[in-house]
């Protein structure tokens, strides 16, 4: 039964299942991302912009 199920009967359904599965993930994440607060978004987006200085490296370390 297991073998026939995969080879024959359900082949046409798999693209649909794939679409629904991936679509659900897209929509869920899209909703979540849109609902994120703008303050939170701004802060995350600015994380790479820290001010840093540099000192000579001790390469022997």
């Amino acid at each position: 039964m297991f073998r026939r199920l995969f080879f024959e009967n359900w082949v046409s359904l798999f693209p649909l299942i794939a679409l629904i599965t991936a679509g659900s993930v897209y929509l869920t994440i899209f909703y979540r991302a849109v609902r994120m607060k703008s303050g939170q978004i701004d802060r995350f987006a600015r994380l790479p912009f820290e001010s840093e200085s540099s000192i000579p490296a001790d390469e022997s370390k």
Binding site: F2, F7, F14, P15, M36, D42, F44
Partner: protein, 803 residues
């Protein structure tokens, strides 16, 4: 220690601390301010290694591309033949060039994003030197013919263990650093790094599961169709999670830095990440379209590949639009030039990939140079240009000295761009030309228009030459970068970045333990929904109905709960973004789901005992020795063993390949490129003498061939002593070999060797029976031989071998 309102928190990066959805603005902070010195030495080391190995990988690429045009460049030397050097080229570019570049970018950006020095200098050094040692071991073992025979997974098992170990070192160092971070939030680049680390570990370990037969040889635990599926689950996702996700993380850090403005849309980056890591992993079967892979897997692979268009282009547009307002800088700034072109090539390659995954397009493009062009648009355009941009941006910052020559960097950009365009255009033209010629028929589709494979090969020779020219330009550009690096670094004093931070401790509200991660509405509803959906899809009549009702009930309940308790769902997600471990576990579940659903049923169902119809006859011991020679010489780099379910394939090579015909192949040898014809049914097609002459000098029997000569096969002796342990492992894997008595194995091998040698002698050539060429001929003559297994309910297994 005191509790400080956020409004009084010093603005470490010019903004306020993360706000939880319940409105909390508070951090537990101390008065202690510390200065962190980043470990930039390791960044410098990986960066320089990337420049050097990049040049090496590209030089080898130039050589193998030239060998396709001029067969004499194989020099009749075993360690310089195309079949052995092509894996060296691919491994060098992927693991040595991009690998080192990725580690440099990850280590530089992660330290700054989490405001913490790398956790362990020792682990960092171990990571660097261990990785270089692995590269050197690969550079020695591959030309010597030590190979597992699986693309991008050729390295032998001791090196595999070393790779896994060093990857764990990388993971420990990375996650330990996250645990010591002073910035609670995880920037999206760090998400991509997390996904890379756990997914590559999973892919690499599963695809490299092997049973050793000796110190330098092993057989994979998967065979035939199982091996094909696992290999391309790995192969495709090596592109996804080694060449794409870490570089996307690097893009999300370095492009905003170079453009001096935040990423265009952080929201889009969130969607980009989750949809990409979830969808990418399912698409592996698109490498096996129209083959004997079960149809449902091909359908899944194609559909998920098409859906990759959305996240890929979302990410590409996000990267490009980050340059809004600074486009004018592209005229003068080579860093932005490289980044803009790299992201554009990412967009091109990720448009082309799904296109090539459509079955009908794949029927034309697969096994041709079109795929090679596609891969190089990604490798040279996306990876190579991101590496160049990152290198030019980092150099002045790591050595505190301006770049030696901006004009040289600009020249590099234009040489590289023209080189890529020449390369890719040549490969598109070549691939489509050969694909059309191979598939062309006359007389209402009953006769091949170009029955000689060599006609199709020689038609694309000019394009193959253009490829060398394009690759050459790209290489010259890279050498200019190397020179620029050398002149910049020469006499410069290396510097390490430093930053001052307040010591913070996260509040209990921000922390999310494993229990709290699981015991939350989103996770609980997702788990139950998936379980019910599985019961609905895979169960019998009652279970199916139960599953359907359960799924509907679960979705409705989740919807109602979400409506009434929205803040609980949102709070869980917000806390997830501040907690690396739960985030990592959920990411792992997202990437593991696709592989499990595809691989587990295949490994359970597609086994030799379940095969109906054609089933392979196990190789004799001598044929097995010949097969191992075929693998060692890298014949799979040019020859497939898979006749697709397409009319032109059947007309050219014979009846299409059945799943059972390679069920005992450890590893499978379906191949991915046809520089030469398919060999699935070559057994018995030509006499032994033809193969003898063909291996000695292919042009004797196939004028115009570009295949190397293999003179050493006529002098080297077959390694019969190794067969005993090889057969024992094959037996362990399920191949029905009998237990041979003392001396029986040798007698069996000698008898078959003598039969082949006698046949050759009768045809006019004399060769000692114990030479490798005899074993290889025995193997080639076996290809396509099978037995017929009747369905279980039709007969009590009246198995009969084919003539």
């Amino acid at each position: 220690m005191r509790f400080v309102p956020a409004s009084r928190v010093p603005r470490l990066c010019g903004d306020r601390p993360p706000r939880l959805s319940n409105g909390s603005f508070f951090h537990f902070m101390t008065d202690r301010k510390i200065t962190i010195e980043y470990n930039d030495k390791i960044v410098r080391q990986f960066l320089l290694a990337s420049v050097i190995w990049g040049a090496v990988g590209m030089v080898v690429g130039m050589l193998v591309a030239s060998q396709l045009n001029y067969w004499r460049l194989n020099f009749d030397l075993p360690w310089l033949t195309f079949g052995r050097l092509r894996p060296l080229h691919t491994n060098a570019v992927i693991f040595a060039f991009v690998g080192n570049m990725m580690f440099a970018g990850v280590y530089y950006s992660t330290q700054r994003l989490v405001k913490a020095r790398l956790a362990s200098d020792f682990l960092s050094s171990l990571h660097f030197w261990g990785w270089q040692l692995i590269i050197v071991a690969a550079a020695i073992s591959l030309p010597l013919g030590f190979s597992r025979g699986k693309e991008y997974a050729e390295l032998i098992w001791p090196i595999n263990i070393a790779v896994a170990f060093i990857w764990v070192v990388f993971a420990v160092n990375f996650f330990w650093t996250l645990a010591r971070r002073h910035e609670p939030a995880l920037y999206v680049a760090v998400w991509f790094y997390i996904a890379t680390i756990i997914t590559v570990a999973m892919l690499y370990i599963v695809n490299h599961l092997s049973i050793p037969t000796s110190l330098l040889h092993s057989y994979p635990v998967f065979g035939g169709v199982q091996d094909a599926l696992v290999q391309w689950w790995y192969g495709h996702n090596a592109v996804a999670f080694f060449l794409t996700t870490p570089i996307l993380g690097i893009m999300y850090y370095f492009v905003p830095k170079a453009a001096e403005r935040p990423v265009y849309s952080y929201r889009l980056s969130v969607i980009h990440f989750w949809s990409l890591v979830f969808v990418y992993i399912w698409a592996g079967p698109h490498h096996l379209l129209n083959t004997s892979l079960p149809g449902w897997l091909q359908a899944l692979g194609m559909t998920f590949s098409l859906m990759l268009w959305a996240p890929s282009w979302g990410g590409m547009l996000n990267g490009l639009l980050t340059l809004r307002g600074v486009w004018h800088k592209l005229r003068t700034d080579p860093v932005l030039k490289f980044f803009a072109a790299a992201v554009t090539f990412y967009g091109m390659a990720t448009f082309e990939g799904p296109l090539l995954s459509i079955k009908s397009v794949n029927a034309l493009a697969h096994y041709t140079d079109w795929i090679i062009g596609h891969v190089h648009a990604g490798a040279l355009g996306w990876n190579g240009f991101m590496a160049a941009g990152m290198t030019y941006w980092l150099l002045p910052r790591l050595w505190n000295k301006p770049l030696y020559s901006v004009p040289l960097a600009n020249l590099h950009f234009w040489l590289g761009t023209v080189g890529i365009l020449l390369y890719v255009a040549a490969m598109w033209t070549s691939g489509i030309t050969q694909g059309l010629m191979l598939n062309a028929t006359t007389d209402n589709g009953t006769i091949l228009a170009y029955p000689s494979f060599l006609d199709t090969l020689n038609a694309i020779r000019p394009m193959m030459l253009f490829r060398v020219v394009g690759g050459g330009l790209y290489l010259v550009g890279w050498l200019l970068l190397a020179y620029n690096v050398y002149r910049t670094v020469k006499g410069a004093k290396a510097v390490n970045g430093t930053v001052e931070v307040f010591v913070t401790e996260r509040t209990a509200e921000e922390r999310l333990g494993i229990g709290a991660m699981v015991a939350n509405p989103p996770v609980i509803f997702s788990c139950f929904g998936t379980l019910f959906a599985c019961a609905w899809m895979f169960g019998n009549d009652f279970t199916k109905l139960f599953g359907l009702l359960g799924t509907v009930f679960c979705v409705m309940l989740a919807w109602v709960h979400f409506g009434s308790r929205t803040h609980r769902w949102a709070a869980w997600y917000d806390r997830l973004l501040l907690n690396a471990l739960p985030f990592t576990i959920l990411t792992f579940i997202a990437v593991a789901a696709g592989g499990m659903i595809q691989i587990i049923p295949t490994t359970l169902v597609n086994r030799a005992e379940n095969i109906e119809g054609r089933r392979a006859i196990p190789y004799t011991p001598l044929e097995l020795a010949g097969r191992d020679l075929y693998i060692a010489e890298g014949c799979y780099n040019c020859h497939s063993q898979m006749i697709r379910t397409l009319v032109p394939d059947v007309l050219r090579y014979g009846d299409y390949s059945r799943l059972g015909e390679s069920i005992y192949d450890y590893p499978f040898q379906w191949g991915s490129k046809r520089t030469g014809p398919d060999l699935a049914r070559v057994g018995g097609k030509y006499p032994n003498l033809w193969h003898y002459r063909h291996m000695l000098n292919p042009r004797d029997v196939s004028p115009g061939s570009n295949m190397p000569n293999y003179p050493w096969l006529f002098t080297n002796k077959t390694d019969v002593a190794a067969l005993s342990s090889k057969l024992a492992v094959q037996r362990l894997l399920g191949v029905p070999y009998p237990e041979y008595q003392e001396g029986e194995l040798l007698l069996l091998v000698n008898a078959q060797e003598k039969a082949v040698a006698d046949d050759l002698h009768a045809a006019g050539v004399t060769v000692a029976p114990d030479r490798e060429i005899i074993a290889l001929i025995a193997y080639l003559q076996k290809l396509g031989k099978h037995e017929i297994v009747l369905p279980l309910n039709t007969a009590a297994n009246h198995n009969r071998p084919t003539p």
